[in-house]
Amino acid sequence: MDKNQSRRQVRLMRQSLFDQGFLDEQFIQLEELQDDSNPNFVEEIATSYYRDSYRSLQAIELALEKTPRDFSKLDSYMHQFKGSSSSIGAKKVKAECQQFREYCNAGNGEGCMRTFQALKKEHATLKKRLEAYFQMARQAGPIEAACRPK
């Protein structure tokens, strides 16, 4: 029962991540890659992503503080960050990345700053949600196979 409840919980959590736009199709791709030889593949990828992205975010933050702002450099950092965020299907984060790049192209420093704050927020929120999800999934047991969202 507990297990069942846990599993149900996991399913719901997962579903809401998609429904609320936190994750996209890529996440499912990762789930499909998970198998017996890599039972925690998705979690490993998420961990790897968060580790690397922290560094990227720090670099961007530093670059933003410099004046005058080097927009092309910022754009290039963000491009990379976007690519990396696409690896786990971080949908909202990617959207903020795109917004940031647009501001960069326009040379809008204020816009960049604002977007960056929003981006960090999304990044952190997703992290919490994923952590909770993975934890629950582990508790629920390995049977928790991903159901394809509609």
Binding site: E25, Q26, Q29, L30, E32, L33, N38, F41, E44, I45, S48, Y49, D52, S76, H79, Q80, K82, G83, S84, S86, S87, I88, G89
Partner: protein, 616 residues
């Protein structure tokens, strides 16, 4: 082994496909690795482009296909793409999160087989084997057509047609080939590695490339054809297909360089001053410098627009001094980098094949006077190569010799011998390869003294041929004022020197060349205005000794950026003394008089020998 593909076993094909994945994002690397493994492919991952090139070079036949990201910190993906295409002739798939049409177009232009957008679906990866298979088919077709053509069925109207229209012929023959490869030539060429067994890929070593370039020059670029080249090269195991394919690439390389040059030509004065980055620069910069405005540099005025050493003046001018030196050819073309490298300074680079030939071509031109910058085109990086070849031709037309040095960098596995003269460094070196490059220089520098006599370019003996008197006059430094013969073996600069290993090779050569060049310089009277643009120019020449012997060696002054100027002042300067590179910078003024070719051998910076050319 050709992997299971050479003889695909239907049941397991395409399992076992050996894929090399290059991406600076570790998360993506993990994902791609997992995806490819799920497709039953054999995966090798790499976080750096340089490492990837090393891996590819070490195991020439160890991979079937390369999948690479476009944006990487150490080397532009397009450059890598070019390198791989030139050196290894493997299919390359590009990836990026950016799907802009212009980027995709660029990828295709640089030779990518496909361009995938991130996030990548597994089903997209599953089908990458088709690119490998397609290439093989083309190779086979090439061989077959070749054979049939050669054989009795010379349907094609004679060998001329065959040579030039080989590709077309092949098309005809293999009517089944319905690919709409627009350029048959290119298509076929790409698969050039069809060796007899259709298995082994031909490795275009520096030597071999040198021979190739030389042959191309001898024939005349417009009249060139695979058969003629093959005959001239006299390499028994090489097939016409191999040559045809290589020629195609070379042409691409040249055209890229040319574009770069065109852009660069505006440099005239050596815009290259900052070669640092781009690989090609070195060589091309020469162009600018070659323009040598200075006057005598006439010879030198290689205008290497952009990448190619545009040896413009072939000498007729003989400026007062008679710029013999070989104008440093396109010294580091400023970034233009051919394709990938060069134009973006990658262009040339990518052509990995450092087309020496480009030089060679240049040389040809040089002789005549101002070889067209086009020749230089491919060079940018490859200039290195060309130098070697250039040397022969140029004899003085000033541009010749200089370039040899350049090739080495890239691909050219120049083995030391290479005429060190051309150290292409010019600007090129700076870029990227700080690491490998540097040590080359060191190596080279050391070797320089020893080389003194003609550093024979290991490859096709390039050195011998052209070196003769490179009237370096070209080395004019860029802007004219300083003639700093920075002959920096820009080995790597341009294109980020493919793999370190390669660069090393180059270094050697460069150093060698430098030494040789130095000697030549002497003869030539290279006036290298010492004004070496610092950083960029490293006079590889460093050692003085070689001068004398180098006679032929051209001084490859590649100014990387600075060079252009070639202060023609050098013209009359003879390189009688090579002092150490460090000197060079200081002596701008008196350089002119005597070829003080001081090479600031500063391995760390490739100073580009702008001056390189002195007018003897």
């Amino acid at each position: 082994m050709e992997s299971s593909f050479s003889s695909p076993r239907n049941d397991s094909f395409p399992a076992g496909l050996r894929v090399l994945v290059v991406d600076d994002d570790p998360t993506w690397l993990k994902i791609l690795e997992k995806m490819l493994k799920k497709c039953s492919y054999e995966v090798t991952t790499c976080g750096l482009a340089r490492d990837a090139l090393n891996l590819l070079r070490e195991k020439k036949d160890g991979y079937d296909i390369v999948v690479s990201d476009v944006n990487m910190p150490d080397m532009d993906g397009f450059k890598l793409l070019e390198h791989v295409g030139l050196e290894m002739d493997l299919p390359v798939i590009m990836m990026s999160v950016d799907g802009e049409t212009s980027r995709v177009m660029k990828g295709v232009q640089h030779g990518a087989c496909d361009y995938l957008l991130k996030p990548i679906r597994m089903k997209e990866l599953r089908n990458i084997w088709q690119h490998v298979f397609r290439k093989k088919i083309h190779e086979i077709r090439d061989i077959e057509s070749h054979e049939s053509i050669e054989g009795i069925q010379l349907i094609r109207n004679g060998s001329d047609q065959y040579d030039e229209g080989y590709f077309f012929s092949a098309e005809d023959l293999t009517s089944s080939r319905k690919r709409k490869d627009v350029d048959n030539k290119y298509d076929d060429k790409d698969f050039s590695d069809c060796s007899s067994a259709k298995k082994a890929r031909v490795v275009w070593s520096v030597d071999l490339h040198q021979k190739f370039v030389k042959a191309v020059h001898q024939i005349g670029f417009d009249k060139v054809g695979p058969k003629k080249i093959l005959d001239l090269m006299n390499v028994p195991w090489l097939t016409r297909e191999n040559v045809a394919s290589h020629l195609q690439k070379y042409r691409l390389y040249l055209s890229r360089l040319q574009k770069e040059n065109d852009i660069k030509s505006s440099f005239g004065g050596t815009k290259h001053s900052d070669y640092s980055s781009k690989d090609l620069q070195g060589i091309l910069s020469v162009q600018n410098s070659i323009n040598i405005q200075q006057n005598d540099v006439a010879h030198g005025s290689y205008r290497f627009s952009g990448n190619n050493l545009v040896a413009q003046n072939a000498d007729p001018k003989s400026n007062e001094g008679d710029i013999k030196g070989i104008v440093s050819e396109p010294v580091a073309e400023p970034k233009k980098g051919t394709t990938g490298n060069i134009p973006d300074s990658q262009k040339t680079r990518s052509s990995q094949m450092d087309f020496n030939s480009s030089y060679a071509e240049t040389q040809k031109g040089l002789v005549g006077n101002v070889p067209d910058s086009q020749k230089i085109r491919s060079s940018q990086m490859r200039v290195n190569h060309s130098f070697a070849s250039v040397e022969s031709e140029v004899n003085l037309t000033a541009f010749d010799s200089t370039i040899p040095a350049t090739y080495s960098w890239n691909k050219i596995q120049l083995e030391k011998e290479h005429k060190p003269l051309i150290q292409l460094n010019n600007g090129f070196s700076k870029p990227q390869l700080p690491g490998p490059q540097h040590h080359f220089q060191a190596d080279q520098l050391q070797s320089i003294p020893s080389i003194s006599s003609r550093p024979s370019i290991p490859g096709g003996d390039v050195t011998g041929s052209s070196k003769s008197k490179p009237s370096y006059s070209e080395y004019t430094n860029h802007h004219g004022s300083h003639v700093s013969p920075t002959i920096s073996p820009t080995i790597s600069a341009t294109d980020s020197f493919p793999g370190q290993t390669k660069s090393c090779v180059v270094d050697h050569q460069l150093s060698e060349t430098i030494s040789t060049s130095t000697s030549n310089m002497k003869n030539q009277g290279i006036n290298l205005s010492t004004d070496l643009e610092s950083a960029q120019r490293n006079l590889i020449l460093g050692s003085t000794s070689p001068f004398a012997s180098l006679d032929d060696e051209f001084q490859i002054c590649w100014y990387q950026g600075d060079c252009y100027g070639m202060n023609l002042e050098l013209q009359n300067v003879e390189f009688s003394e090579y002092t150490d590179p460090t000197h060079v910078t200081e002596v701008p003024a008196h350089l002119y008089d005597a070829l003080r070719f001081e090479y600031p051998c500063d391995p760390s910076e490739y100073s580009v020998l702008d001056q390189g050319l002195f007018i003897a």
